[in-house]
């Protein structure tokens, strides 16, 4: 009965430690959030599943030769998967609303304050015993405030791979929680009259402007922030494929099959970093707390910036659209629209909020570039 012993010694039952069990429970929680609560299911479902697989004793998913080992090292450590996703996001993004009203770029800029302010929080946490965040760690955590998954994963894979799992989970969870996190902040910082402000209709944008826009973004990045070119470059490639109108085949594939395939493996690879030794520590709690702070500060900065701009602008600006500057596309824009409709049932802010929303994607990619250049 040698074989029986061997089989038994191999079973999960005989090998489970408490940490593994807790991490599998974390994976199940992520699956629950993804399926029952529809929290960013496209990412959280594979991340949760990957977390479960990675924590099975004796299954060896993360060991050399294991499925998740290959996925992580080939796709995430190299940065290739988040960049491909970002190309697909570029191909899915319509900058029309932004081009029609380019002032809102400042809203997308202001909301990045959430990122940089969170750096202080991460450093101050080091005063509490148990926390030891380097400046790299702090930067990777702060980028959660950018509310942009691929950017957060890309930066974390470069600056703090050990924290990647927690950072990605926090980023996607808070993106899913945007409808809960943002409205109270938005209401607290605005008056009923401000929320009722109607904005002027957007002008039509020409095809040429849409084609030149990604090239202009790329040019500025090349001139001023080469460190951001991997992210911004792939994003602009996707957007150029979309708007050029001459490579529909490629654009459609980038928006659909390619992004889908990579999303499955990106999720699994991120999940593989949710191992007990890297996730079950007090730092993870710190990351979750800091992420919430980053989102909140970003939302507030966006709204305040919109109020300031409203004072000086000729055309009226509803401060609610400032909250969309954190990105979390398109959820934050929908939230701005919804809170606006509560104040005035005839005031549709969605298109106006899309401008700062996509501006926020660029803003956090630029912020990531600054952090890579100065901290990486």
């Amino acid at each position: 009965m040698d074989g029986l012993t061997k089989l038994w010694m191999d079973t999960g039952i005989a090998n489970f430690g408490l940490p593994d069990l807790v991490m599998i429970a974390v994976g199940c929680l992520l699956l629950y959030l993804a399926i029952a609560r529809k929290f960013e299911p496209l990412l959280l479902l594979p991340i949760g599943f990957g977390a479960i697989l990675a924590n099975i004793p004796n299954a060896g998913f993360n060991d050399e030769g294991g499925m998740l080992y290959y996925v992580y090292h080939v796709g995430i450590e190299t940065g290739v998967f988040p960049l491909i996703i970002f190309m697909g996001v570029g191909a899915l993004t319509d900058f029309g609303a932004l081009i029609a009203n380019p002032k809102v770029l400042f809203l997308g800029a202001a909301a990045q304050f959430g990122i940089f302010a969170t750096l202080f929080g991460a450093i101050l946490l080091n005063l509490i015993p148990g926390f030891e965040f380097s400046l790299q760690d702090a930067s990777a955590i702060a980028i959660i405030g950018g509310a942009d998954g691929p950017t957060a994963i890309f930066l974390a894979s470069k600056l703090a791979p050990d924290l990647l799992g927690a950072i990605a989970v926090a980023a996607y969870s808070y993106m899913a929680l945007v409808p809960i996190i943002q409205p109270p902040i938005m209401r607290a910082l605005t008056t009923q009259e401000e929320r009722e402000i109607k904005m002027e209709q957007l002008r039509p944008v020409s095809k040429k402007e849409k084609i030149i826009f990604p090239l202009a973004v790329l040019l500025l990045t090349i001139l001023f922030l080469p460190a951001a070119t991997p992210l911004v470059g792939m994003f602009c490639l996707g957007n150029l494929m979309r708007e050029s109108g001459v490579v529909e085949r490629l654009s459609s594939t980038a928006q659909n099959e390619l992004i889908n395939i990579v999303t499955i493996f990106l999720g699994l690879g991120v999940g593989s970093k949710l191992s007990a030794d890297k996730f079950l520590n007090i730092e993870t709690l710190g990351i979750l707390a800091l992420g919430a702070i980053a989102f909140s500060i970003g939302t507030a900065s966006g709204v305040i910036m919109a109020k300031i701009m409203g004072r000086f602008s000729k055309s009226p600006i509803n401060p609610l659209i400032g909250a969309a500057g954190v990105s979390a596309v398109p959820m934050a824009a929908r939230v701005a629209n919804k809170v606006g409709l509560e104040a005035n049932p005839h005031n549709f802010l969605l298109m106006h909020a899309m401008g700062p929303n996509v501006a926020g994607v660029l803003g956090s990619a630029v912020a990531a570039g600054v952090l890579l250049a100065l901290v990486g």
Binding site: I99, A109, F116, P204, I212, A216, F224, V358, V370
Partner: protein, 86 residues
């Protein structure tokens, strides 16, 4: 590196970072304004950019229906209308 020093570096990052972000997106705004000034609007006949395109989204494009599909259907229905009329 002690906490004070780290905080100081964070302050630098905050200053440089926000300056850079505003500068960058500000320059982009200028570029977009220049485009608006110098690039002529599309011919009204094209009308492509006026039509509400699907909203950009990394997540919600599941429900999108292929425009080619719609074109195919409408042409099929139109053709049917013709045969019906005949």
């Amino acid at each position: 590196m002690d906490v004070t020093e780290s905080l100081f570096r964070a302050l630098t990052l905050l200053g440089l970072g926000m300056t850079f972000v505003f500068l960058f997106l500000g320059l982009l705004m200028i570029a977009v304004n220049l485009m608006a000034k110098y690039i002529p609007a599309d011919e009204p006949a094209v009308k492509r950019s006026v039509v509400p395109r699907k909203q950009p989204s990394t997540v919600s494009s599941e429900s999108e229906i292929n425009p080619k599909l719609i074109a195919a259907i409408s042409s099929a229905v139109q053709q049917y209308r013709k045969t019906e009329a005949a």
